[in-house]
């Protein structure tokens, strides 16, 4: 690992860097053999199937949502959040552990203005592409290969954000 003044290779600092402007990270302190990761492919497959079958990845459904012409997407997101809230509450309430016996960790998210500026920008893009990042990948799976271009462009957008991050208001 290369060293400079912004990165230090100690574990906790790496966690901090990974957690910068990211909700979702690996909070586990355990290391496993590679094949332990196969279970995440399986969860992904199930998740991808639900995405397609509920038409969440449909450009048309997203257009309906933003024109307030259909309750479908609001119902999907709302009920997903309700189940998520209940699950997280149960996990905290009963101090549930992972299948490896590790305590499940939550870290509070700090507010910064990026959540507004970036959020508005993402919203504009979401209504154009008719897909947030998850559905973009599922669309490619269904055979919409041209969406690979959109994903590559999203990777480029992420990179440009990373490059200009220090100069943007947060």
């Amino acid at each position: 690992m290369t060293e400079n003044k912004t990165t230090i290779s100690s574990f906790d600092t790496d966690h901090e860097v990974r957690a910068l402007d990211t909700m979702c990270i690996n909070e586990s302190h355990l290391t496993h053999k590679w094949y332990h990761n196969i279970k995440y492919i399986i969860v992904g497959i199930l998740f991808g199937i639900v995405f397609v079958k509920a038409e969440v990845i449909s450009w048309f459904r997203i257009q309906e949502m933003f024109r307030l012409q259909s309750f479908h997407m609001f119902g999907v997101i709302g009920s997903a959040v309700a189940v998520g809230v209940l699950s997280v509450w149960l996990i905290k309430r009963y101090k549930l552990k992972t299948i490896y016996g590790e305590q499940i960790e939550f870290h509070p998210k700090k507010f910064n203005k990026g959540q507004i500026y970036g959020g508005l920008l993402f919203g504009l893009g979401w209504a154009m592409t008719g897909a947030c990042p998850g559905p973009l990948f599922a669309q490619v799976g269904t055979g919409a290969l041209a969406v690979i271009v959109t994903i590559l462009s999203a990777v480029a957008g992420t990179w440009v954000y990373g490059y200009f991050r220090d100069r943007l208001p947060h």
């Binding site: 933003f66 500026y117 990042p133």
Partner: protein, 187 residues
């Protein structure tokens, strides 16, 4: 049974299943659900280019890249064997609006008139696929998450910054779909 599965799933089935991803990933290995971070991991893995934001051990997040690989496979499985044979049913007002832009084919989940390699060379195709994709990538990272990281995982953990982000997503989308996209579609 298969016939029922092939029908489009209602929100009250699909939403809770999507919500269950949150405890599934937490219980399987302390993983916090979110997808847009993978775009960052791809940058960190392929073109870190001495940008501090991309200098971290992305291999610790391989689970998430595999999760996305699963989503692609899941999309392929659903499209190959579980596909609803009839076209999507649209709100008549939307169908009328889209017909005005020449979009009448609802066979695919993405309109083939907009999302194709040929369409890239039209004004609206370029804007929607390339510029749209770019601001999805830029905006999600600027916001620190997307619909999954903020709107589902963040709200599940009752994080108010995630509520701010979610409201911003919706406001941005509302503005684009109602006021800007109608113009883009004519290009």
């Amino acid at each position: 049974m298969l016939e029922i599965i092939k029908q489009p799933w209602p929100w009250y089935i699909a939403g809770p299943l999507i919500g269950l991803t949150v405890p599934a990933l937490l219980l399987l290995g302390n993983k916090h659900f979110g997808i847009s971070a993978n775009l960052r991991h791809i940058c960190a893995a392929c073109v870190p280019a001495k940008v501090p934001f991309f200098k971290y051990d992305w291999k610790k997040e391989i689970w998430n890249l595999l999760f996305v690989l699963g989503i692609i496979i899941g999309g392929a499985i659903a499209a190959s064997w579980l596909q609803n044979p009839s076209a999507i049913e649209l709100h008549p007002k939307l169908a009328e609006e889209l017909a005005g832009y020449g979009i009448t084919n609802y066979e695919s989940l993405v309109p083939t008139e907009l999302f194709s390699f040929q369409s890239l060379f039209t004004g609206r195709g370029f804007l929607i696929m390339v510029v749209g994709g770019f601001i999805v990538g830029f905006g999600t990272r600027y916001a620190g998450g997307c619909t999954s990281g903020h709107s589902i995982m963040g709200l599940s953990n009752l994080q108010w910054p995630s509520l701010v982000a979610t409201i911003s997503f919706m406001v941005g989308g509302f503005i684009m779909a109602n006021f800007i996209l109608p113009f883009i579609m004519t290009l």
